[in-house]
């Protein structure tokens, strides 16, 4: 493992809901630029773990830090500003807003014009809004969504909605991108496109990515390192090859060989 502070450091983190330990004692470190996968059977606590990282839940034990800065207890929007951004398992776009506006919302925290300057239409409002619009259009070109700028998000085909959600998450300028089952519901062709897209954005934005996925081809294909979660605890960690042959993992997945 490389020297220096890791980008994300999770120490002994966990959360309990009443008597139920949904996640406990998770230790995890992500290096700058790494692409890691998080897998596990249904109900293992993968999404709950994402919710801990993004502040939707406050961990009841352990600590989470990003580039050495503690994130425990911060509101979700503050964590986003610190540099963790995510997509959702079930798409959560602003469905009645246009594609362009969806991305502009993610740029909101970079806006410098105040409410008053918008209400009185001061020059700073126009400058800020123009900048935002230009940036958003440029940005959507990377995702090949610039031909549907003024389409409402809910009218996009499924694959494009997924792409828009990733675009929106990236527009918030994250250091760490969390993808929650990005390939869910996609056909093999779309999954392939998605894999290429993930590789592309990772290079272009110098991102660190952690993704949850059930599609083993995708996980084994793109991830450098894989964490396996079962019953709220990490049961294995390693390269795809190691994970494939790990007896604990095979057991967790009902004794079936993952290949």
């Amino acid at each position: 493992m490389a020297a220096g502070t890791p980008l994300l450091k999770v120490e002994n983190a966990g959360i309990r809901f009443g008597g139920l330990k949904a996640v406990s004692g998770v230790n995890l470190e992500l290096r700058q630029g790494e692409l890691a996968g998080l897998i596990g059977p249904n109900g293992a606590g993968k999404t709950t773990f994402f919710n801990l990282l993004t502040g939707v839940y406050v961990p009841t034990e352990g600590s989470i830090s990003l580039v050495g800065e503690k994130l425990n207890g911060l509101a979700p929007y503050k964590i986003t500003k610190k540099g963790i951004s995510r997509t959702f398992q079930n798409i959560r776009l602003f469905s009645d807003m246009t594609v362009l506006d969806n991305v502009k919302v993610a740029y909101h925290s970079l806006a410098r014009h105040s409410i008053l300057s918008s209400i009185f239409r001061l020059p700073s409002h126009f400058k800020g809004e123009m900048e935002m619009e230009e940036k958003a259009i440029e940005f959507l070109k990377i995702f090949k969504l610039d031909h549907v700028l003024h389409e409402k998000a809910k009218n996009l085909p499924y694959g494009q909605q997924r792409r828009l959600e990733i675009a929106r998450a990236l527009a918030a300028k994250p250091k760490l991108l969390l993808l929650d089952e990005p390939a869910a519901g996609m056909n093999p062709q779309e999954t392939e496109d998605l894999m290429n897209l993930i590789a592309l954005i990772r290079e272009k934005f110098e991102l660190t990515i952690l993704l949850i996925e059930h599609d083993m081809n995708l996980v084994m294909g793109v991830c450098e390192r894989i964490y396996v979660l079962d019953h709220g605890q990490l049961i294995a960690e390693g390269t795809p090859e190691q994970i494939r042959n790990n007896p604990k993992v095979i057991e967790a997945y009902l004794g079936e060989e993952v290949s």
């Binding site: 959560r92 009645d96 807003m97 502009k104 993610a106 918008s118 003024h150």
Partner: protein, 324 residues
Amino acid sequence: MNVLKQAKGFWFTIVLAAIFFVVMQFLINGEFLNPFYVNTLYTIGINIILAVSLHLVIGITGQFSIGHAGFLAVGAYVSAIITMKLGLPFPVALLAGGVVAAIAGIIIGIPTLRLRGDYLAIATLGFGEIMRILFLNIEYVGGASGMTVSHLITWPWLFGCVLATIIVIVNFTNSTHGRACISIRENEIAADAMGINTTYYKVMAFVIGAFFAGVAGGLHAHNFYIIQPTNFSFLKSFDILILVVLGGLGSMSGSVIAAVLLTIITAFLANYPELRMVIYSLVLIVVMLFRPQGLMGTKEITAFLKMSKAAKGGAQDGSRHTVA
């Protein structure tokens, strides 16, 4: 869509508004309109302010608040105290009514806006009732018998307030701040995850809405000669809510159109007191049956103008204003 076009549309609207203002001023000054019509006109204006201010809270930010009459009451009483007890001029009273209502909005908004959906509705309903009971029990403002207020409302002040409300709310909506509010309506969890301070924007929309409801209260008080706590019961809150829902949640021009239509219908039904509520209810039922999304849906009136202009062009986005 682009800034220049927006500015053009803005000035066009301002010119139209100015013409309308001058024509009405001429009609009122020349006494071509009988007092009944003038009074209806004032009521329409007040209802527009109320509908548009609630539209910001419910239609844009998606926070189902049904205590708007509470802010109306605060504005009405505060402004009445300013003119009647302190003898200060009418504009000061309007401003003070708005400011105090906005402060009430902050105090109520911060705790209640943590609630969602039904719970928020009940909490805001409670706030409205508390305000009514509060004024009922303050002797200084006349208790149950109410407070007499001079008729100080004039067409220029009314028109100015309506215009200011619309401009402020349209400008707010069509900015990054308005988009932040809409994103909360669309999906609060995602908005939060995109770095939007959801509490801040919910409270902000609530406070701006409360401010204008307070101004409307000031106009209301100085139009009706007397204000009583019973004017501000939850039924009044529902009247305002109906305007917003009937116009179409998310459409400001819808709120305005509904305010105009329903005020006119109510005014003319005053001649048939026994059938008034029956016909009024029927109108609501029929509209909701045939247009459950409200008169305008989520579209703005400018979208229709654009559509007819660009009939041959591609799909137009309907949910944008070009007013400013």
